[in-house]
Amino acid sequence: MGQPAIEEAHLTSLTAATAARSSASSEHSLVVEDLRVHYDTPEGVIKAVDGVSLALKPGERLALVGESGSGKSTLAMALMRLTKAPGRIVAGHIYLGGKDITLLEEPEMRQLRLNEIALVPQGAMNSLNPVMRVKHQIIDGILDHVADRKQTPDSHELEERVNRLLARVGLSPEVGRMFPHELSGGMKQRVAMAIAISLSPRVIVADEPTSALDVVVQRQIMQTLGRLQQGLDAAVILIGHDMGLVAQFANRVGVMYAGKLVELGPVQQIFTEPLHPYTKLLIESLPNLEEKKKFIGIPGLPPTLLRLPSGCVFHPRCPSFIKGTCETVAPHYQEVRPERETSCHLYAGVRA
């Protein structure tokens, strides 16, 4: 019973993505098509990312939220083709500017990194090389992407470029001469952003860029990020679990659970009218400044990715659980309303 249903779901999301792809690179900066990233462990296969599809337009800000273990960080790494053994991309495609990067050899991929797709890491506490000065760490990224030997910029040009980049993230030129340990958390994160924009990439992947910072600095960093992104007209994928930040920054929000994308839609609608039961619980669990109400969590624990629940992965914790359907059949991920995608049996019969 489950087999044909899964295939159908596969086809559906494929058509959506293929449609996106056929519009070529001018339409979408980034297209992810049924991506699956698995980890081979002695205890079994961990399906960290299990069939995720999404598309990103230039200048768009997409936020991906989910609990720890939902697969969002794995997805971020996979987008950069940085998945490390024992993980590997087992299926799916990633189109960056129309090019399928899952098929590229490592040297070609290396060229694309930083140039076309850049990473702003999680709390740059340790993301900077402790023994190199900041400016050298910005410079080496530039140097290693020079296409032609003769075009290597000289030290003067490089110095200017570094200062300009630092200025764009709101840092003074002196920071260039400092070592990472002499900077505060916020400053380090700004440096990381300066590095990320140094080659004007098409897509910026920000993996929980503010989780290690305090609230005030968080806001500044997010504002800076937004400003930079607009300047470049780059697309941003923001990975995180802080719904508040997401609400202020993103255009669209995707919710991940147990390696799957369970909902995707414009930020306003996700917050005011969440479709998937998991998203509903997430929104409801947010504390509200206006009214006092009981603190609701989400009952149960996220499933172990080794042995996912049958049918819909969320069914053991779902308040809208439909007996007979939800534990046997996996729901399709589809567009159930204009620009609203979700995978839930509650909306099964509804096709946009």
Partner: protein, 362 residues
């Protein structure tokens, strides 16, 4: 760390300004990293001297008297001047003098690097004898340590780098085994295999028998030939140790956030290897170098004994056989001072490598 609260003098008079400056200077010096290390060095030297002073006193033996007795028993003849020396010795260190005076004289002598006369080779002084052998030992050890550290560290770095050529990994096993074997043992093995079974290298000595040291090419070549086996004993075993340590460090580095970031930046593999991984792994490796100096030295000393290489080790060996306590004592003191000094130098230069360690303790 105790807080020192000091009242800063106020006012703009010249005297007040001088006081403030003096205070800042004082705090800077006492809190200074270099200062503390030098202090520790002096402490070690002093402690060593005291221990060297105390231990023989515990056994109640008087080395000079012993020698005199020995010669008297054998009916042998003493070098001229020996008795004078014995009398001077009695005056300064005789067991009838109060212990504080003995101690004071001892420390004074040491401070002037006067290690005393040699009993077995009288009238040569201990300094004299040690100096002769020092050259050989430094030559051997210096070269060997540098070579093995460089080769070992590089091999270890490559071993720990997943993108290194595959055939390299086969080196790991042999290197591991070699690192377990003490220099001394390896020396015996090498002497047995390459000097005896397959007479490729000379059995012992620093140069050919009967050859008088001079600055000729022939002598230089002989020195080299004779140094190869002793050097290899130390090098082969040390390389394993350095390689292992470096490999461990590199593997630990792999998981670091900044390594992931380096890759995310799309940097070239060579650059990541050298500037990111290696450079950071070198830090604990250098610390390990400082800590290993003692072991390397004692190992080298024993290797010299096996090969009768004319270095400090051999001198020590002869001194023990001839019961020349002053040489033994001088040797121990000299070695301790050198090691403490070497550790001090490495400690002081470490901040140059690691910008996170500052010269000032903040």
């Amino acid at each position: 760390m105790t807080e020192i609260v000091v009242e800063r003098p106020s006012g703009t008079s010249a005297a007040a300004r001088r006081m403030r400056f003096a205070q800042r200077f004082f705090v800077a010096v006492v809190g200074n990293y270099v200062f503390r290390r030098v202090l520790f060095f002096l402490f070690v030297v002093w402690l060593a001297s005291t221990v060297i002073f105390i231990i023989p006193r515990l056994s109640g033996q008087d080395p000079v008297k012993e020698k005199l007795l020995l010669e008297a028993q054998r009916g042998g003849h003493l070098q001229s001047g020996f008795e004078d020396m014995a009398r001077t010795y009695q005056k300064r260190f005789g067991l009838d003098r109060p212990i504080w005076i003995q101690y004071r004289n001892f420390i004074l002598d040491l401070a002037q690097f006067d290690l005393g006369p040699s009993i077995a080779f009288f009238p040569r002084t201990v300094n004299d004898i040690l100096m002769d052998s020092l050259v050989w030992t430094i030559g051997l050890l210096g070269t060997v340590t540098i070579l093995s550290f460089v080769i070992g560290t590089l091999s270890g770095a490559l071993l720990g780098w997943p993108r290194a050529p595959g055939y390299f990994k086969y080196l790991f096993g042999p290197l591991l085994t070699l690192s377990a074997i003490p220099f001394y043992l390896l020396a015996l093995l090498l002497v047995f295999l390459f000097a005896f079974r397959f007479s490729i290298f000379p059995l012992f000595g620093g140069y050919g028998i009967g050859k008088v040291p001079d600055f000729s090419l022939d002598f230089a070549l002989q020195v080299l030939r004779h140094a190869i086996l002793p050097a290899m004993s130390i090098i082969l075993a040390s390389i394993g140790f350095w390689a292992l340590g470096m490999r461990g460090m590199m593997v630990t580095m792999q998981g670091s956030d900044f390594m992931v970031q380096a890759e995310a930046k799309g940097l070239k593999a060579g650059r990541i290897f050298l500037r990111y991984a290696l450079r950071n792994a070198l830090l604990p490796q250098t610390t390990a170098l400082a800590l290993s100096l003692g072991t390397v030295l004692t190992g080298a000393v024993l290797v010299e004994v096996v090969f009768r290489y004319p270095g400090l080790g051999n001198t020590l060996y002869q001194a023990i056989r001839l019961s020349d306590f002053f040489i033994i004592r001088g040797f121990v003191f000299a070695v301790i001072v050198s090691l403490a000094l070497a550790t001090l130098i490495v400690d002081i230069t470490y901040p140059l490598l690691d910008p996170r360690v500052k010269y000032r303790k903040g």
